[in-house]
């Protein structure tokens, strides 16, 4: 205890006072690490809030079920409910159906509709609803007794202005129906699922609306407490083909797993800012350790142990970590409000639908951010602290002037750096766990570290080349840069990291977008896309009615018709879509984006229904590729086709397998259509004409979107997703600029005496400013150049390793020269602007201070 207070007192007197005395730099560094920590924390908090809302909602909807009965295509025969209820192993069984519907004419506000049997469901889920005014009939009785009644979630009712007794029109695949609001759910239990944006109806009402008679989506079971394995086996034996007994939580696990890759990517990206902040801490602690060497010698000679000196500097790092974190938390709570919207929307559009119920600042995340920020800051202080503890007490007697750092150090670091860069490539080839691209990220880290280690040597070389050219300010600057050693190199390292990240992401995002553009124009070609209402939201689970199919077959407007039948399936736990469409018209009008061909050889076979093509994601996730056999259980039949080739596809719900529709119909004759796309002849004014004809003949049972709108909206989602990325990037660059400011300012302050000597022997202020500016230019030039090289390497890693390991896809490599050409000079300008505070420091202390003894 006494030792600790003694240490803290020394720390206060020796370290804290010094930091406060030079608060300018300390504040800059604090700002850097705080900003980094804030970005990291708020990104994590946003994803966490989205995920936990999703998880809570899924749990509430799942209720108390121990097991669920499901079918591959989502159609469990309703007749199974009775035998299940009678089964000795089962204490309760309740059928459930869910879908998304929307208030008529309100495209934007779709919500979850849950169909249940109010009596059978009572052991499973708890919910209460306000009773109808004055009457004793409870809401659940009314749901059963009166068709077309619903109980609405509290926030849904509030949003839409619904009151008990209102009649509200809803739209679904089968058209539109008026409902009566029988009650409003209390904001508890099931009423909290989907953040209160849901409605409950009776199973019969549900089937009426959706036309799915005789089937339910799943049957939830509660088992008896004393159930034996024999009972369970008997239960499983009850299942007809295609139907299986599973544990609940599958949906949550799949959903969370899909989001995980996105979460990790964002975390890593936001960690970059913290990483750059680490360079800042390092540079300041290293400066203090170096410039206070004489003081350290005094402390040592007065009896301080090396360990204590070490602790002093580690403490300095920890102070930056703790204060940076303390700064980051309030900033994050503000930042998260901006990020949350973008992040949850991205997760909703790309992976699983989330409704944010509340913004809980997860204590776990906040704790993790503390550990990480302080850890990073302490790690940054480690090496300087070790240097400091080597100061010998006898140095107090020697009056050695500041000398340039030794050369071999830079050489050794460079060799290490080369080693890291070389090791990055083989490391990247190690396959990652699904959705967790650990080797990819490690390789990235190695690249960053490698290039940062190269920078002292790079500065020496660069200085060497220019050492003899130019006038005095130039030569002096080059000399200084050459000899200033690792401390200068550190801020170059920070700049390299930020520039590399920037370059790599610019290239990746551009490649991604260009590939997606090709994909939407070829694979999503077509002029009008038609599907049953809400098909998009419920993943094309509904079939078009026979009547509508008949209409499409006999249209007056001339158009090529390409119908499709989609199945949402799983291959050994990997979700994917099987999409069958007539290949002859499709391949005439559109095409796949081929990944593994040869396309010329595959197209004819595909047209003849001799096999399927699978997406890159499907191939990477399942390990099945060209030459292998694709097999799928469609419930009523099992299809087996050879895989002819691999194509690129960028839907986020997993992989996709494309088959010929006729080949499917040969196995499942009444497969039906889940949607249709139309190609119109070139000259026709047709899209609007076609739409009008469909409306006239099918009423409003179908959702229609023009091909142009569909493609546009996909690209918009894409751009929105990467808006978050752009923000993260800019922060990393800003932190790097702070690094340049700190380093240069420190370099100037450290040399006040030398600069004043130059002035005293006849240098003009302009010459000295030019010298500092030249130094800045060298640091920036090296940081920028090495950053670009590192960035190009990194872009390969991102596109071919990390994206593949995270999402299963790669892109066609394209460099966005325009964006790079525009932004690189901008970064140079920013980095040079970061030198301005240093220039202003140059003459802050009057030159006459030269004459004062040190």
């Amino acid at each position: 205890m006494g030792r600790l207070t003694a240490f803290l007192r020394l720390f206060h007197q020796f370290s804290l006072r010094h930091l406060v005395r030079h608060r300018g730099r300390a504040v800059t560094v604090l700002l850097g690490i705080g900003l980094g920590a804030a970005v990291f924390t708020s990104v994590r908090l946003s994803v966490d809030a989205s995920l936990s809302s999703f998880g809570r909602s899924v749990d509430l909807l799942a209720g108390r079920a121990d097991r669920v009965v499901v079918e591959v295509t989502g159609a469990v025969p309703e007749t199974l409910v009775a035998p299940l209820r009678r089964h000795p192993a089962v204490s309760a069984a309740a059928p459930v159906m869910t879908t998304y519907v929307r208030p008529a004419g309100d495209e934007a506000r779709s919500f979850l509709l849950v169909g249940i049997d109010p009596i059978l469901d009572r052991p499973m889920r708890t919910w209460t609803a306000e009773k109808r005014d004055g009457k004793t009939v409870t809401a659940w009785q009314r749901l059963m007794a009166t068709p077309a009644t619903l109980v609405a979630g509290a926030s849904l009712a509030r949003d839409l202005g619904w009151r008990v007794g209102d009649r509200v029109p809803l739209e679904h695949a089968m058209g539109r129906q008026d409902f009566e609001v029988a009650g409003i759910l209390a904001d508890e239990q099931l009423g909290r699922a989907e953040a209160g944006r849901l409605a409950i109806v009776d199973l019969a009402t549900f089937q009426e609306l959706t036309g799915r008679f005789g089937f339910v989506e799943r049957i939830d079971l509660i088992l008896r407490p004393d159930v034996s394995t024999g009972d369970l086996e008997a239960l499983a034996a009850l299942m007809p083909p295609g139907v299986s007994l599973q544990t609940p939580g599958g949906a949550k696990a799949t959903g969370t797993a899909m989001v995980r890759a996105y979460q990790i990517n964002l975390s890593v990206l936001s960690f970059a800012s913290l990483f750059v902040g680490m360079f800042l801490v390092y540079s300041l602690v290293a400066l203090n350790a170096a410039s206070r060497r004489p003081e350290l010698a005094i402390l040592r000679s007065l009896g301080a142990t090396p360990r204590r000196i070490f602790a002093l500097f580690i403490g300095e790092g920890a102070v930056f970590g703790i204060l940076g974190w303390a700064l980051a938390i309030p900033v994050s709570t503000v930042l998260v409000k901006f990020l949350l919207d973008g992040v949850s929307r991205t997760i909703s559009t790309l992976f699983v639908r989330v409704e944010i119920d509340r913004l809980a600042l997860s204590p776990l995340e906040i704790g993790a951010s503390f550990v990480l920020t302080v850890g990073v800051a302490v790690a940054a202080a480690w090496q300087p602290a070790r240097e400091a503890m080597k100061v010998a007490p006898k140095e107090v007697l020697t009056q050695s002037p500041v000398t340039a750092e030794d050369g071999p150090g830079a050489r050794r670091l460079a060799l290490g750096g080369f080693g890291c860069i070389l090791a990055a490539l083989p490391l990247a080839r190690i396959p990652g766990l699904p959705g967790l691209p650990l080797p990819g990220y490690l390789a990235t880290l190695l690249l960053f570290v490698g290039f940062a280690l190269l920078s002292p040597w790079g500065l020496r070389r660069l200085g060497g080349w220019f050492a003899d050219g130019g006038d005095v300010p130039f030569v002096l600057a080059v000399r200084y840069v050459r000899d200033s050693g690792t401390r200068t190199a550190v801020s170059v390292g920070a700049l390299i990291t930020a520039v590399a990240l920037f370059t790599a992401l610019v290239i990746m995002v551009h490649s991604f977008r260009r590939t997606v553009e090709v994909w939407v124009t070829q694979t999503l070609s077509g002029d009008l896309f038609v599907a049953p209402k809400m098909a998009e939201a419920i993943n094309f689970q509904d079939l078009m009615t026979d009547a509508d199919m008949q209409v499409v077959r006999s249209l007056e407007t001339p158009a090529t018709v390409v119908p499709h039948r989609r199945y949402n399936l799983e291959h050994q736990g990997v979700p994917y879509t099987l999409e069958a469409m007539p290949m002859i018209p499709f391949l005439r009008q559109g095409d796949f984006v081929w990944y593994q061909g040869p396309a010329e050889a595959i197209r004819p076979a595909l047209r003849e229904g001799k096999g399927v093509v699978v997406s890159e994601v499907f191939a990477n996730r399942t390990g099945l590729t060209a030459g292998d056999r694709f097999e799928a259980d469609l419930g009523r039949a099992v299809v087996k086709w050879p895989i002819l080739g691999v194509i690129r596809d960028y839907r986020t719900q997993g992989g996709v397998v494309f088959a010929d529709l006729d080949a499917l119909l040969a196995v499942v004759p009444d497969a039906g259509w889940t949607g249709v796309r139309f190609y119109l002849p070139q000259d026709s004014a047709g899209v609007e004409h076609l739409r009008q004809e469909l409306i006239a003949r099918c009423g409003d049972r179908l959702d229609m979107v023009t091909g142009a709108d569909l493609r546009q909206s996909i690209l918009e989602v894409f751009d929105e997703t990467f808006a978050v990325t752009t923000v993260l990037l800019l922060v990393a660059l800003a932190v790097a600029a702070l690094g340049i400011t700190t380093t240069l300012t420190v370099l100037v302050l450290e040399r006040t005496r030398q600069l004043n000597t130059l002035l005293a022997v006849g240098g003009s202020r302009r010459q000295i400013r030019r010298m500092i500016f030249t130094e800045a230019a060298f640091l920036v030039a090296l940081g920028e150049a090495a950053g670009l090289v590192c960035g190009f390497l990194l872009s390969y890693l991102l596109i071919y390793v990390i994206n593949r390991q995270s999402f299963g896809w790669t892109f066609i490599y394209r460099v966005d020269w325009a964006a790079l050409g525009f932004s690189v000079p901008l970064i140079v300008a920013t980095a040079l602007a970061a030198a301005v505070p240093a220039l202003r420091q140059v003459f802050r202390r009057p030159p006459a201070t030269l004459l004062r003894e040190r």
Binding site: T403, A404, R753, Q754, V761, A848, L851, E853
Partner: protein, 231 residues
Amino acid sequence: MKPDPVIIASGLKRVYPLGESQVVGLAGIDLAIDTGALVVLKGVSGSGKSTLLALLAGLDRPSAGRLVVAGRDLAGAGEADLTIFRREVVGMVFQNFNLLPTLTVLENVSIPALLAGRPRSETLRRADELLAWLGMTPRRHHFPAQLSGGEMQRTAIARALINDPPIILADEPTGNLDSANGAAVIELLADLNRRWQRTVIIATHSTIADPYATVRILLKDGAIVDGSWAD
């Protein structure tokens, strides 16, 4: 014939603001130094020696008063004029040498001429001459960290001479040297004064330069003590 004074000061004052109050560096002195003088400036620590030298060197500006050095009015001079003044008129020697650590001896000596835009080859030749005269030729490619204190100060003297200034200012030039090296440095400065007619001003609180003084000034609390100093 009595030569014109090369340094004329009247009412020369320098005060340093220190929060609300101020510290007096120079309290308003009058001074006239003739060309070719060897001035020894004495006074205890804090008496204002360095303050005066900084003003004479054009490193600082007076708070009040008149200061003309080599015909140039320093009190009203702009920054550009001061730079030219420092290049052409004065050479400085410091107590702690103030050599640039990343430059060799030869480079350190050349710097003032190169900053003034003199041709490189001519500068290097002159620097070599000076170093030879000072016995530093074997050391010309060494870095300051590799030199002894005496060698560092000789390098600094060569640097002060490279632009051929008529005035040499030395602030405690022996303060960081042992007595033998200190004596050698003073001998050098006196030699410059005798043989090359440079005006030399040495600020010191020791007696080492006393024998060479042609003018003796004693400062106390920023003011010149009447009659200057006697032995």
